[in-house]
Amino acid sequence: MNALQPALHPVTGRTDSAGRLTDADPRLLDLIGRAGGAIGQVVAIPEIAALDRLARRLGIAIARSIVVADGDDDIELEVRAEPDADGVLLEIGGWRPRPAWRNATAAEHRDGDFVAVEADWVWEADAALRLTHLTLDAGARYGFDAAAMLGQPLVKLFALAEDREGGFPILGAVAAQMRFDGQEAELRGTARKVRLSADPRIDARGHFAGFVGAVQMLCEGCAAAAGAPDGAFPDGFGVRLDRSLRRPLERIIANASSMSAEVEGPLAESYAGYADDIASAGRHLLGLVDDLVDLEAIEDEDFSVAVERIDLADVARRAAGLLSVRAAEGNVRVDRPAADEDLPATGEFRRALQVLVNLIGNAVRYSPTGGMVWVRVERDGDRACVIVADQGKGVAPRDQALIFEKFGRVDPGEIGGSGLGLYISRRLARAMGGDISVDSAPGQGARFVFTLPAR
């Protein structure tokens, strides 16, 4: 898919020393005519007239990309104005229709953002295809000297491979000044395969000024993994997901929250409400990102937990404390272990807290208004147990295995949650030498027991 349509050939026009149009190619004259102008008048398109006047005053050739309205459409033009003794020579290229939703100023930066999001690392090159920017960390990660590659021809870093038709996508893209993707290559000296994609940089005269590009690492077995039925993750998926989604989401949530709180000034109530919806949807997505990042981590062969001496009663109190606001919003009371109770256990503090936040959070979510959630701690032989019980609708015995499965949900229509929380929690509990179990009957609430080795 090419993001840019090819540009039409540039056309020219002339203005005299007072900025009046003396001559114009038919396509330009048509455009000016539709804007209500004609030969002998100042150019009727204000953006072009301004550039024309500025070029005459500055006495140098200048160029700008502009967007002009043509009937119901917007078109992107690349205008160059070059003053001479008689007036100004206008050269107008581009002529691309612009979709209405595209933001005029940020468009090319945003293309770069899209490139960066799908990338393991990024590169930029000038019009001569010399590297002008690289993610330097990538050198250490994949075994090449990134700093030494700056200034070098692109092909010194990447040995380009032909595609199935025997062509090189990048070469076609240079010729046509278009986006390319799917250019496979080898990272020289490392035997690593990569896939390159890039957006062209087009200057204000419509000329090719280089590429903003992305690199996707292709590892042995990745292609198979991507299609594997158990949904194994490609290398670095979690890191990439976290990097590309977390910051934008946090921005969305922060901005929407401040809009809904009317920090910058009053808003109509309905708009504040929309902002609130945006913020809560953003928080939901952020929760999903957290879950997916965790999921990838725990499914990694190298996943391990720290072995720490923890007080499980303290962890349970902290988890209940973290959820007190949410509980108060739902008018649910959380009865947590008393301050003087302790329950020495072995596990990783952070992960144990995560498990209990998930269990108590679920209990709060499924509690009826005015309900109660009990968090109790007890020692059972060599096991330290935390019991989280609620007064919700409970879990039928036939569903009790399902809720611990990946994306396992009893009611698929239910809103909120990713269907990953209990799966992740149980994997974490087992990685720490403990477990999570449930006993419940429909209509009688649910009772989850989280155990860790006692000490």
Partner: protein, 364 residues
Amino acid sequence: MRGPLGSGARAIIARAAGADARARAALRTAIDDAFLAPDARLDDRTRATLGALIATLTSAIEGELREHAGRLLTTRGEGGLADLMAFEAPPVVERLAAAGLLRDMDFIGECVSRIRAEMIGAALPFAASDPDSASLLARLAQSSDRVVAGAAAAVMAGESQRRAAADGGSLPGTGLPAPLHARLLWWVAAAMRERLAEDAGERLPALDRAIAEAALRNLAMRDDNDRLEAAAMRLAAAIDAQGDELPALFDEALRDRRVALFAALLGHALGVSYELARELVIDPAGDRLWLALRALEMPRDLIARIGFLLCEADPRRDVEIFADTLEIIVAVDAEAARVAVAPLRLHPDYRAALLALDARAPRR
């Protein structure tokens, strides 16, 4: 029924007692804010970028101190303190900001100048060069002069690093000038100590020793020459452009959106520091830059192009005003311009003292 006051009640009474003063302070802030001239105010994007840079700088230092101090403590059998060091905590930047330490003219001045220069670089229009000829730094990096080639490569690498850091990557070193780096480092060290002092209890001296040693090691490992700004100045000095070569270099540096190189070329040609040259480049009023370019006898077309490009890249500038003043700028005699910019070349400390004195001039 009235018993002694509980601690909660005492806290409320204490808060109420301070409320007057706080309300007045809030009002003073509101008044300052209301009467800030629009062009003196940071725009939202600059403000956000500044906040992000300060957070990145402090957390880079904090991370390094924690790691090294933690290692020292572990090898000294202070496992408990090492664990404290590793415990998650709110970033020290919040504490430093609350204490007002970050309201430091030099530190914030450097940060604001740095991000403004970066923002201008990112906003400069793309310019196609001859497809058969590489861009300026790419060419210089292949120069047969090893000093030029090394410095050009260092500038490219430095800019790549800064850009990656701005996109959320890690930052190797702060890139601050040595005195500012040291100042920030000790602030961060102090904030870390304050945070851990209570938990460290009687082991505090061991904690102090480890933090201080980690900080000193950081200072010792740091080489001012590694900074992007130093590399750019090194490159400008190695090129040592003569009068007739300078216009093309200025032109190409801006077309390639290499603001650091542009500032370094200007600084070297004028005989001023990188920081001062950068200040001329980012100052939206621009008068000092135009005079400097005239003092260097740069031709009219070049000044017009530089002015146009900077106006395109920096929303604080007005191209119409620039066009209005262009003829006046060009009419300034080179010798008069040299006299006018001569104070820029005074010793930086001397200049700073003169500026400080001027700001406190007796009213006549």
